[in-house]
Symmetry: C2
Subunit: 361 residues, 2 copies
């Protein structure tokens, strides 16, 4: 896939019938991603965004895209954008919960949170944008929704998980804020970027690992070292990816270029989940054909995790006003969404799934 500065895009293609010529000022930005180039889904959103900006400006506003490690390390992108070393980062806020737990709320990255569609509704048409902008502003950043993974798989395990007791002492790679809940289940959560997980699994540094879902996980090779593939990833039902822009860089843009960034991010946002959905089914079938065993987490694990998560949330509500302000809003939104999605959406989807199981599709 094309990457780096888009020199070729600088000259607009000749278009005989085109009356409108835009002569905006030239802007060049660097975007650093938390993800490796090989993951055309989650890394891909950065390229979709950059191309959409370039296309809308005849190449005058160019965003060069850089995978993890090229300009800054995977987990250095937040600080780099905050400091202005780069103009923007493509990442997920929850990776940086060590700075502030509320960052995990800002991208929906909490256990038993909103699903992908609900998260976009909260962000676009609920209070999500305003609340997260207020939080990110304290880090000198302006945030845009720029992708969503949908409900993730629960990850890869070397042995069956029959009860919460089987999780005790397990060293498990989990992204972002998930570890805050998993550690309450006795898991030893380990954070590491995508590019390092396979080796950790192979060497036995971790006993299990999750990333996103079949298409990414297959590329990362997890199925070669762990046979049991659990679902759902209750810690990431609708994780949003974030475009984090240095505030000074953003404010230096004209109103038109700000709007172009906004619209381009929206296109990239929706494209990511669409791409995951388009690519995951075939990967899932390949994995199962290769011997992967799909397993739902037992109800006892789900219930234990649900209780542990909400105990954590109660503690944070009592101690962290920045957390509480966003949590109270998001959780009220969740209550309504679950009620609403339980009617037409759930009854339609479950009917279709029944038809699928009966080979009628």
């Amino acid at each position: 896939a094309a990457c780096g500065p888009r020199e070729q895009a600088a000259a607009p293609a000749a278009a005989p019938a085109a009356p409108a010529v835009i002569t905006g000022e030239t802007v060049r930005w660097r975007l650093a991603s938390t993800f490796p180039r090989a993951l055309d889904t989650i890394w891909g959103a950065a390229e979709v965004f950059a191309k959409a900006v370039s296309d809308a400006t005849g190449g005058r506003f160019q965003v060069s895209t850089h995978p993890a490690g090229e300009l800054v390390p995977a987990m250095g992108v937040f600080d780099a954008a905050q400091a202005g070393t780069i103009e923007c980062a493509h990442t997920a806020n929850y990776f940086f919960f060590g700075k502030e737990d509320a960052l995990a709320l800002a991208n929906g990255g909490i256990s038993f949170g909103l699903n992908g569609r609900q998260m976009t509704s909260w962000f676009y048409e609920g209070n999500g944008l305003a609340l997260s902008r207020e939080l990110l502003d304290t880090f000198n950043l302006v945030n845009f929704a720029c992708g969503n993974t949908g409900a993730q798989m629960g990850g890869w395990f070397r042995r069956e998980i029959r009860s919460p007791a089987d999780l005790q002492g397990m060293r498990f790679r989990a992204g972002g804020f998930a570890g805050r809940v998993l550690e309450r289940l006795g898991v030893v959560p380990l954070a590491m970027p995508a590019g390092e997980i396979y080796q950790a699994l192979e060497r036995g540094t971790v006993d299990g690992a999750e990333f996103v879902g079949p298409y990414d996980d297959e590329k990362l090779g997890f199925h070669r070292v762990a046979p049991f593939y659990y679902y759902p990833g209750f810690w990431e039902a609708g994780t949003q990816l974030d475009l984090l822009i240095n505030k000074t860089a953003f404010n230096a843009l004209s109103p038109e270029y700000k709007a172009i960034v906004h619209n381009a991010a929206a296109f990239a946002h929706t494209t990511m989940l669409a791409r995951y959905d388009a690519l995951n089914p075939a990967a899932l079938k390949r994995l199962v054909a290769g011997g992967t065993r799909l397993m739902p987490f037992p109800r006892s694990v789900m219930d234990t995790a649900f209780r542990a998560a909400h105990e954590l949330y109660a503690e944070l509500n009592a101690t962290n006003p920045r957390w509480k302000k966003i949590y109270d809003d998001q959780i009220a939104f969740r209550r309504d969404q679950v009620l609403w999605h339980g009617l037409a959406e759930a009854s339609f989807d479950s009917y279709m799934q029944l038809q699928g199981r009966n080979n009628r599709l």
Copy 2:
């Protein structure tokens, strides 16, 4: 809500730090919607699109938005855009299945079709865009996804539906292509635009009616004349709204303005479903508090409709090559999506719905 030509937006706000000035050519388009201004959800997407285009061009590219009947009748927008009387229409392709049944596939408007998220995946990252563009091109139109309703409710009935027999002879307002399936169940389907449904219900011209979901339906007043509110609307699980642009008008745009239209449509596309999700829960609660009775369609009705729909599809596959080309692609995509969504998404959502029913959210 602001509407019509955006004269105020023509002058960009003064921005001291802004270095980039765009001096693109002035373009003025008229957009005619199939929907009344009162429906800020489905009509609203046209305004979101127009504002996004205006913002990205400093007001130089203005799209004036016109509700049903202002420039052309609700169902006249397709012809008007095709003829170039207006530059673009905001509507749903399936309303025009009388011209070509395959138009209903082009916006996912078929019974037991893709849900909202799956439709966007097919359109953005499957073959949906290419296949629908090829079809709309024969009508001198360039189409963009510009909204999705999500799974709709099944509509309002004056009496309970206990079996398919209860549908026999019922005069029922149903949007678009739904009538082609409902008539096979003995229903007398009647097509009419949103603005005319309430009066038809009140006068008894129809025995029941559907539009979209709680928020729109409440505004349209259906609950005042029919107490039973059924779900799901199996004939519209993920209806996409379409921006249909006259081909000559679109081709006259510069590459930059074409990209700006593309990105603005993407933002409007995602905003519509986000808005429906944000607004539907409260409306649902108001309706139920006012006496509306929520009812799932009986399994026998779902099964009868599923069989009838697929008999129709088999007939169209055998007789209409334009239908078959799109159907075969979309239905293979559906099979994979239902399989994939049945794992992490379905198990997470159903667990959360269980927690909701148990008052744990």
